[in-house]
C-alpha cells in the first residue's frame, strides 16, 4: 500500500528521529511512504496569524502537488502541518472565499489547482485502524514492559473539531498503540493541553513554566517519560525542562513502536534528544 508522505520542515530539522522512526514503523507494517516531491513549509503559527492569504496558499500548494502526483492519501506526522493542511482541505470543501481565491492564485502560479481528491491523514489515524492495529500487535517483538508513560497529543492534533480523527478532548489513539506495544500508559488530565511552542523564542519564560507544569504532572501520574506525536511539542518539552523536579525524556510514539519492533537503528533516533532517553531504556532492558 503506497501513501503520500509530507514530512514537514521539523522532520528534516530538529525532529529527524520522528522522520526516521515513522518510515521504519510504516515499512515494518508493509506500507511504503512516498515523499511528496518539492513540498513546502505549511507556514505554521506565523503563517496563519499574520497573513490570511499565506495561511491558505502555503498548505494548499502541497495539496495541489499531491493531486498532481495522484497521491490519494497524504500522511502528515507533524501535528502543525497536519492541522493546517487538513484545515485548507476543509475550507476548500466548505467553499470558503479564502480557499477559492488561493486556489485561483495557485492555478496561475503552479499551472494546476486543487479539486479535493486527496485525503489528509495522520500516522495515528492510519495505525489505529482495526486491521493495522492488529498488525502492529503481531510486529511487537520486544514489549515495552515496565515503561510507564503518559500520552501528550498537544492542541493541534485534535482541535478544532473538523481536523480531529479522535475524541477532541480525551483522545485515545496513542494510548491504544502504546498499550499494544506493551507500555504502561498512565492516566492524566493534560493530554490536549497546549505547550506554547510558538513562543519558545520570544517568550521563553512562559514556555518554561508550561513545560514545568506538564512534566511535573506527568511524574505525579507515575510516568517516567512523555510520548508525543508533534515535533513542536516534543522540541519544546525536550529543551525547556529548566525548572522541573526531575528531567524526563520526551519520546515520539513511532520511536517506541520502532523499539518494540526490535528495529536495530533505534539508537540513531535516540541520539537526537536533549534529555537523554538511553539510560531509562537500558534500565528496562529495552535497548
Amino acid at each position: 500500500m503506497k501513501l503520500g508522505y509530507y514530512p514537514g520542515c521539523s522532520l528534516h530539522g530538529n525532529a529527524q528521529q520522528y522522520n526516521m522512526s515513522t518510515e521504519a514503523v510504516f515499512k515494518a507494517l508493509g506500507m511504503e511512504l512516498a515523499e511528496l516531491p518539492e513540498w513546502n513549509c505549511c507556514g505554521a503559527t506565523p503563517g496563519h496569524s499574520t497573513d490570511t492569504f499565506l495561511a491558505m496558499a502555503l498548505p494548499l500548494r502541497n495539496l495541489v502537488i499531491a493531486e498532481a502526483e495522484q497521491q490519494k492519501e497524504l500522511v502528515l506526522p507533524c501535528a502543525a502541518c497536519y492541522n493546517l493542511v487538513k484545515a485548507a482541505d476543509h475550507y476548500f470543501r466548505e467553499g470558503s472565499e479564502e480557499a477559492k481565491d488561493a486556489n485561483e492564485e495557485l492555478k496561475t502560479i503552479m499551472g494546476s489547482s486543487y479539486s479535493g481528491n486527496v485525503t489528509v491523514t495522520h500516522p495515528l489515524e492510519i495505525l489505529t485502524k482495526k486491521e493495522t492495529l492488529d498488525q502492529v500487535g503481531s510486529q511487537v517483538k520486544k514489549p515495552l514492559a515496565g515503561l510507564k508513560v503518559v500520552t501528550y497529543y498537544g492542541c493541534l492534533l485534535t482541535r478544532p473539531a473538523y481536523v480531529s480523527f479522535d475524541d477532541v478532548e480525551q483522545p485515545q489513539a496513542m494510548d491504544h498503540l502504546l498499550r499494544k506495544a506493551g507500555a504502561d500508559v498512565r492516566k492524566w488530565s493534560y493530554k490536549t493541553d497546549c505547550c506554547g511552542g510558538s513562543l519558545t523564542l520570544p517568550r521563553t519564560e512562559v514556555v518554561v513554566d508550561i513545560t514545568a507544569n506538564l512534566v511535573n504532572a506527568a511524574q505525579r501520574a507515575g510516568a517516567d517519560a512523555i510520548v508525543s506525536a508533534c515535533p513542536l511539542c516534543q522540541i519544546t518539552l525536550d529543551t525547556r525542562q529548566n525548572n522541573v523536579e526531575k528531567k524526563i525524556p520526551i519520546f515520539y510514539f513511532t520511536e517506541l513502536l520502532g523499539i518494540s519492533f526490535g528495529n536495530p537503528d533505534a539508537k540513531q533516533w535516540l541520539k537526537r534528544h536533549i534529555v537523554d532517553p538511553i539510560p531509562l531504556l537500558t534500565s528496562l532492558h529495552l535497548l
Binding site: 518539492e38 496569524s49 499574520t50 495557485l106 492542541c155 478544532p160 506554547g196 517568550r203 534528544h273
Partner: protein, 196 residues
C-alpha cells in the same frame, strides 16, 4: 476600573464589523461567560482576558484592543474555540487583531519580538539570497537572524550547541525546489500585493 465608551453600531465601516468579517466570527453571540479565559494556557500573562477583548470589539474600543498584548500572546491552540458555548473561534479573532495591529503599525512595544519571530520565520521560508532554501524553514538561518535583530545571542547558546552536536540543526538549508522553483517566491509576492 477602566471606563469605556460605546461608539460602535455594527455598521459596515465599524471596527467590530471589520474584525467580524475578517475572522468570520459573530462576536455579538458572546454572553461573557468567561469560560474561554478559564481554559486559556496564556491567560496568566495576558493583560486582558480574551472575553474582555471581545467586549472591547463590541463597544468599538479600537485603541484599547490594539494596545493590549492579549492578541499577541494567543498561540492559536483553539481551546477557546472548541469549548465556547456559542461556537466563537476566539483564536481566529486574535489572528485578525494581529493583522490589524501590524497593518496599523501599532504592535505593543514589549511584544515586538513575537511579531519579529513571525516575520523572520516567513522570510526564511521564502529562501535566502545566496544559500537559497526556498520553500523550507532553515532553522539555523531563522534563529541567527532572530538573535541578531533582538541582540539575544547569549541565552540558549548552550542549547544551540547541544542541538548542533546531536545533528538536530542542519547547517545548510535544503534546496528542494527544482521543477517548481520560484513558485514560493511568487506566492509571497502575491501576498505582499494583496496586503497593499
Amino acid at each position: 476600573m477602566s471606563t469605556v465608551k460605546h461608539t460602535d453600531h455594527g455598521t459596515a465601516s465599524s471596527f467590530s464589523q471589520a474584525i467580524q468579517k475578517k475572522s468570520h466570527q459573530n462576536i455579538n453571540d458572546c454572553y461573557q461567560c468567561m469560560k474561554c479565559a478559564g481554559g486559556c494556557p496564556m491567560n496568566s500573562v495576558m493583560e486582558h482576558n480574551n472575553y474582555e477583548i471581545l467586549r472591547f470589539i463590541q463597544l468599538g474600543e479600537r485603541d484599547k484592543v490594539l494596545d493590549s498584548n492579549t492578541p499577541w500572546l494567543c498561540v492559536g491552540c483553539k481551546t477557546c474555540a472548541v469549548r465556547c458555548p456559542n461556537g466563537i473561534d476566539t483564536g481566529k479573532i486574535m489572528d485578525a487583531l494581529k493583522m490589524e495591529s501590524m497593518a496599523a503599525d501599532r504592535v505593543p512595544e514589549k511584544e515586538y519580538p513575537i511579531k519579529l519571530f513571525c516575520e523572520l520565520f516567513l522570510k526564511s521560508m521564502a529562501g535566502f539570497p545566496v544559500i537559497g532554501g526556498e520553500g523550507r524553514l532553515y532553522d539555523m538561518g531563522m534563529v541567527g537572524l532572530y538573535k541578531m535583530c533582538t541582540a539575544t545571542f547569549f541565552n540558549d547558546m548552550a542549547l544551540g550547541m547541544e542541538m548542533g552536536k546531536r545533528g538536530m540543526m542542519p547547517l545548510l538549508p535544503h534546496n528542494a525546489m527544482h521543477r517548481r522553483k520560484g513558485e514560493i517566491k511568487k506566492i509571497f509576492q502575491r501576498a505582499k500585493e494583496k496586503k497593499a
